[in-house]
């Protein structure tokens, strides 16, 4: 009798244990799939994707890169880069005011092109790009994109793009993509007269054209 009592005690004990386990089991069943740090292996592919994406963005392009190493708390509201791309994604002009590796630049150019090329013309001219914002405008087959801070005034950059295009149009008299390809160095020169250090330098079309005329004479 005592023997039986003994063993059955063990069983009762085990039963509770199992009971607990099973309760535990079911509780765990829904924490097991959590894609938290403890369970990278259990994350579903989609989770992993979002995870890698979340992690990858800063590593690809640390925000400090686009915001520059700024000691003061507020980031400068400067232009980060200006891109001029055609519909096929060929870069016709790329001016970066923040330092980026060449590979990062190519990635940025590729991503920006992807972002803007398929947008409906009725949509806004603004797309959020990583931690920043791209203001773009399409002229014929060319996309002009300016990347600025998320809080910056989008409308004024839209005007900037237009002014830049007007200057180009005036300078090359009826500009087309080929002008920009063969005279890319002049386009850079115009841009350097228009924008410097990521800030606007001159707002008068006339002044820039005159200045370009003077510079042309020197060459």
């Amino acid at each position: 009798m005592i023997l039986q009592y003994h063993t059955s005690e063990i069983i009762i004990f085990t039963e509770n244990f199992l009971d607990n386990l099973l309760r535990g089991l079911v509780i765990e069943y829904f924490s097991v799939v959590r894609p938290d740090a403890a369970h990278p292996a259990n994350a579903t592919p989609a989770d992993q994707e979002t995870q890698t994406r979340l992690i990858a963005i800063p590593s690809q392009l640390p925000s400090s890169n686009l915001t520059t190493s700024q000691p003061s708390s507020s980031s400068p509201s400067m232009i980060r880069f200006i891109l001029l791309q055609n519909r096929q994604g060929k870069t016709r002009l790329a001016k970066y005011y923040v330092p980026l590796e060449d590979s990062e630049k190519h990635k940025v150019e590729y991503e920006v092109h992807r972002l803007v090329v398929n947008r409906d013309p009725k949509f806004t001219n603004f797309v959020e790009f990583r931690t920043h914002k791209v203001i773009y405008r399409r002229y014929a087959g060319l996309f002009f994109s300016i990347c600025v801070d998320i809080t910056d005034n989008e409308l004024v950059y839209l005007e900037c793009i237009h002014l830049f295009v007007e200057i180009l149009d005036h300078f090359f008299s009826n500009v087309c993509e080929l002008d920009l390809v063969f005279n890319f160095h002049k386009v850079y020169l115009i841009l350097d007269e228009f924008i410097l250090a990521g800030e606007l330098q001159e707002t008068s079309k006339k002044a820039i054209i005159e200045r370009m005329g003077e510079l042309e004479k020197l060459d």
Binding site: Q4, T7, I10, F13, T14, N16, L18, N20, L21, L22, R23, G24, L25, V26, I27, E28, Y29, F30, S31, V32, P35, A37, A38, H39, T44, D47, P71, S72, L93, Y97, P99, H106, K122, T124, F126, E128, T151, N153, E154, L155, V156, E159, C160, V181, F182, F184, H185, Y188, L189, D192, L196, A197, L200, T203, S204, K206, R211, L215, L218, D219
Partner: protein
């Protein structure tokens, strides 16, 4: 021009043509390679100075195409050092394109820059300023700041504006230099030229950011100037040079407004001073063109940013209202943007536009939708949560698939945050899961399960509505999971309509319908392993809830015994064994889950978002989950652990008997590597070692397995703990498996006493924070197997003729096996039949076996079958004896043995302690 065949003979234009003419990427690469080679040669050769800048231009084009052009960097520096403007122009252009502030090479250019900044030709000064402004590093900024300061005083407007922007860069790089520039910057604001003005305003803005002193200085010295500039530019009559759509220089407008915002922020006097001009800009600016709207936008921002009068604020909010109803998407976008910022200033004003904002959530343009959704999220409060949620949920049905994830996340956090009633929350979540169940994040449905588990009065309603929803939207993954979980837990409420709410339509669900639903879920092609595992658990639970379905469930479960997914296969085998063989304990095994601890879950969720924070653990050993256990399971405290340690240290100081049985061997045995001779080992001390070993095969090998086993539970890193528990449970499972296979009864007690500890751990883990995320599922095998092992041992010890064997002693020379026999009705008494086997190649003579027992045991030895033990195990000597344990049930059987024999006439003596008797002897 006479061309050297080795130099890059082609002109830039020709190269571009050649590249454009390439039909394939390979062809283009070939052209580029050829050109690059030619340029390299030209660089290395002397006497090609006149071609240098052409080569550089080509290189820049090649760089734009994405080819590496590092070899041209030094060439840039040489061009910059050249005397003429054309060379310098290309040199600086190349510098800006090919280099940036991070390259060491850049330092080499500092001297050239310094010379060019002091150049008499203003165009060359302009080039140098431009390069400096675009790529200077902090060091260069420090070195060249004096030159730039000097140039700020220049007469030439082009030099002045470039120097001002260059200073912007310098101040950005070295904020300490801000004070050097503030005086100059303020004086530049008196200029007339717009280019200089806008550059100066931007410099001032940068100075304000860089230094508090500069901010104060500019507040005092340039606010009047700014107001004057703004007044002049907005009142000026038509100025063709700066006109954009009828507005004179909107760029300058905007830059000035921005600087005003910086100066007016937190300064009432400054703000007061700007009031009039801001009001003028806000009222008089034309808003039918983009340029005008850009100014209004900036103006509103400034009014919101400074300490404006309430009248001005009203003006700003009205402009926003106009923006919001504008047809132009761009304008609506910026309106949403400022509303986000305005909400902290004037919530009521923003609330007025709620309907319009809600419409924007449904816009076709993702940029607008995103802004609007974020804004809606900020607008929700206790009073409007219900209509807003309804709108959003309704929209969920037609929303873009891409947008659904954002939308569901927001809806869920709104409902969680503001739900006053659980019923409402439940209903909303149900809708979200039904409409976008494939897009919700995991923690959303985890939270839902926690809520359902806590709302006992709504469980019936929840399971019924989930069941109904599942019929219609079975393709939604997370709906399926939640529904399956609830059906498993609350199956009987589903069938019996327990806890009907008033407005709830009655439904008729039979037991087999419920099983059908889960089975269908299991068989859905889109169901993943998690869902399928949950279905299996639900089926297992239903087998206990609905005994009549047990047989069918057994079949369903059995179908998966050969599932390709190991997890499911294992689960189904285990569950099958529970259903089939352990009916007596099944119902208690499959009790409803204890109420999940909401607070702990929330804390855990919060901590999960900050990955490194150790998991929350209630201070006391008694966890909230435990207290709520419905069937009052008493949680064994630390006792088993102590027992376990006692086992090895006090009761069983065994060393000699286990001479050959190293823990390592045993471990291998357990893991099934050694395989067959498990029954030869099995001493308690060894088992403790095993435990140690088992634990130390975890991810971070530890010296003291047991302590480590506990410490993770007391709040180590989550993953760590899980790994531990996992490895422990897995190995225990293996231990059990081998136990079950070999049926060495002796091992069972150790397992039993060993198991409660990890169990305990698991228990506390899972109940305190359902967090641990342990795969406790792996524990179930132990459950099943352990039961197997136990049932075997119980039956053994209950019956007369069962005779479990233990290896009482084994050395390199001798092996002793005890066959144990109990007589029915005499639990104290055990008949032991000992078999002695010689493991050496020499025969033992004069073999004598002696045994000693503690006082509470009586021992009666029968005569041995002989005194010669043949060599190499070719025969054996047997001896019977009888032990009576007078303290049966309280103290285990233990025995000291001594064997003396002669090998080739030499006396030998071996002794040992037998304490691996099965329990209950």
């Amino acid at each position: 021009m006479a061309l050297n065949p080795f130099s890059s003979g082609t002109r830039l234009r020709d190269m571009i043509r050649a590249i454009r003419a390439s039909k394939t990427a390979a062809e283009e690469r070939a052209v580029v390679r050829r050109e690059c080679a030619a340029i390299r040669t030209a660089i290395s050769e002397r006497g090609q100075e006149e071609l240098r800048h052409r080569n550089m231009a080509k290189l820049m084009f090649i760089h734009m195409l994405g080819y590496p052009t590092h070899f041209g960097q030094m060439e840039c520096l040489k061009l910059i050092a050249a005397a003429g403007y054309p060379e310098k122009r290309i040199g600086y252009l190349g510098l800006m394109l090919l280099l940036d502030e991070r390259q060491e090479v850049l330092m080499l250019v500092t001297n050239s820059l310094k010379q060019d900044l002091n150049h008499s030709n203003p165009f060359i000064v302009g080039l140098a300023l431009c390069a400096l402004g675009n790529i200077c590093s902090a060091e260069m900024a420090r070195d060249l700041a004096p030159e730039v300061e000097k140039l700020l005083r220049s007469r030439d407007v082009n030099t002045k504006k470039k120097a001002a922007l260059c200073s912007v860069r310098i101040v950005r790089k070295v904020p300490d230099l801000a004070e050097n520039f503030m005086g100059l910057a303020a004086s530049l604001l008196k200029e007339k030229h717009h280019g200089v003005l806008i550059s100066a305003v931007q410099l001032c803005t940068e100075l304000c950011k860089a230094s508090k002193d500069a901010l104060e200085y500019l507040r005092k010295n340039c606010i009047e100037g700014l107001v004057r500039i703004l007044r002049d530019v907005s009142n000026s009559s038509y100025a063709p040079e700066y006109d954009v759509a009828g507005i004179s220089d909107p760029f300058l407008h905007i830059r000035v407004l921005k600087l005003m915002r910086m100066l007016g922020q937190g300064d009432a006097d400054c703000s007061e001073y700007m009031n009039d001009i801001l009001a003028q800009v806000a009222t008089k600016t034309e808003s039918n063109k983009n340029a005008g709207n850009a100014i209004l936008y900036e103006c509103v921002e400034t009014i919101m940013g400074i300490e404006a009068t309430s009248g001005l604020r009203v003006l700003a909010i009205n402009i926003l209202g106009r923006f919001l109803s504008n047809r132009d998407n761009n304008i609506r976008y910026v309106a949403l943007n400022i509303l986000m910022r305005a909400i902290t200033v004037d919530t009521q004003a923003v609330q007025r536009h709620r309907v319009t904002i809600l419409e924007c959530v449904k816009d076709a343009d993702a940029s607008i939708r995103k802004r609007a959704l974020e804004l809606v999220f900020l607008l929700v409060n206790d009073t409007n949560v219900k209509p807003l949620t309804k709108e959003l949920v309704d929209y969920l049905d037609v929303a873009d698939p891409d947008f659904k994830e954002d939308l569901t996340a927001k809806i869920c956090s709104i409902t969680e945050k503001f739900s006053q009633e659980k019923l409402w929350y439940l209903d909303q979540m149900l809708k979200v899961l039904s409409l976008a169940g494939n897009h919700v994040k995991d923690d959303v449905w985890h939270a839902l399960i926690v809520v359902i588990s806590n709302a006992s009065e709504l469980q019936g309603y929840a399971v019924r509505s989930l069941y109904t929803a599942l019929q219609a939207y079975s393709e939604q993954g997370s709906l399926l999971r939640v529904a399956v979980w609830c059906i498993g837990e609350y199956g009987e409420m589903l069938v019996n309509n327990v806890g009907m709410l008033e407005a709830e339509p009655p439904i008729t669900v039979t037991e087999s319908d419920a099983v059908d639903a889960v089975e269908l879920g299991f068989n859905r092609y889109s169901a993943d392993v998690t869902t399928r595992s949950m279905c299996l658990v639900a089926l297992l639970k239903l087998s206990s809830r609905f005994p009549s379905m047990s047989e069918r469930i057994k079949q369903i479960v059995a179908q998966n015994k050969e599932n390709m997914v190991l997890e499911l296969q294992q689960r189904s085998i285990e569950f099958g064994s529970i259903i089939q063989r352990h009916q007596s304990i099944r119902s208690s095994l499959l009790e409803r889950m204890p109420v999940l601890d909401e607070a702990a879950y929330l804390v855990k969720r919060a901590s999960a978002t900050q990955a490194t924070i150790p998991a929350y653990k209630p201070a006391s050993g008694v966890t909230p989950g435990d207290l709520k256990l419905p069937n009052g399971v008493a949680k064994p405290a630390a006792a088993p652990l102590v027992d376990l340690l006692d086992l090895s240290s006090d009761d069983a100081p065994v060393t000699s008997t286990s001479a050959t049985t190293t823990p390592n061997d045993f471990l291998q045995d357990l893991l099934g590597i050694g395989g067959t001779n498990l029954s030869t080992a099995g001493v308690p001390s060894a088992s403790t070692d095993i435990l140690m070993d088992l634990l130390s095969i975890g991810p971070s090998p530890s010296q003291n397995g047991l302590l480590d086993l506990i410490s993770p539970a007391q709040g180590k890193d989550n993953s760590d703990r899980n790994n531990y528990v996992n490895s422990v449970s897995v190995t225990i499972a293996e231990l059990n498996t081998s136990v079950a296979e070999q049926k060495p009864v002796s091992a069972v007690p150790q397992v039993v006493s060993l198991v409660p500890e990890p169990m305990d751990l698991l228990g506390s883990l899972s109940s305190s924070a359902s967090s641990s995320g342990t795969k406790s599922s792996t524990v179930v095998p132990q459950a099943a197997d352990l039961l197997d092992g136990l049932s075997a041992s119980t039956s053994v010890s209950g019956l007369d003729d069962a005779c479990p064997s233990i290896t009482a002693f084994q050395s390199a020379t001798l092996k002793i096996v005890f066959d144990l026999r109990k007589q029915l009705g005499k639990p104290q008494e055990t008949t032991i039949h000992a078999t002695f086997t010689n493991l050496t190649s020499t025969t033992y003579t004069d073999f004598i076996f002696q045994a000693a027992v503690p006082k509470f045991i009586q021992l009666r030895l029968d005569p041995a079958s002989g005194n010669v033990v043949p060599a190499s195990g070719k025969g054996s000597v047997t001896q019977g004896f009888n032990v009576t344990n007078s303290q049966h049930g309280q103290k285990p059987l233990a025995m000291r043995i001594r064997m003396s024999y002669k090998v080739n006439g030499e006396d030998r003596l071996e002794q040992g302690l037998v304490s691996n008797f099965p329990p209950g002897l």
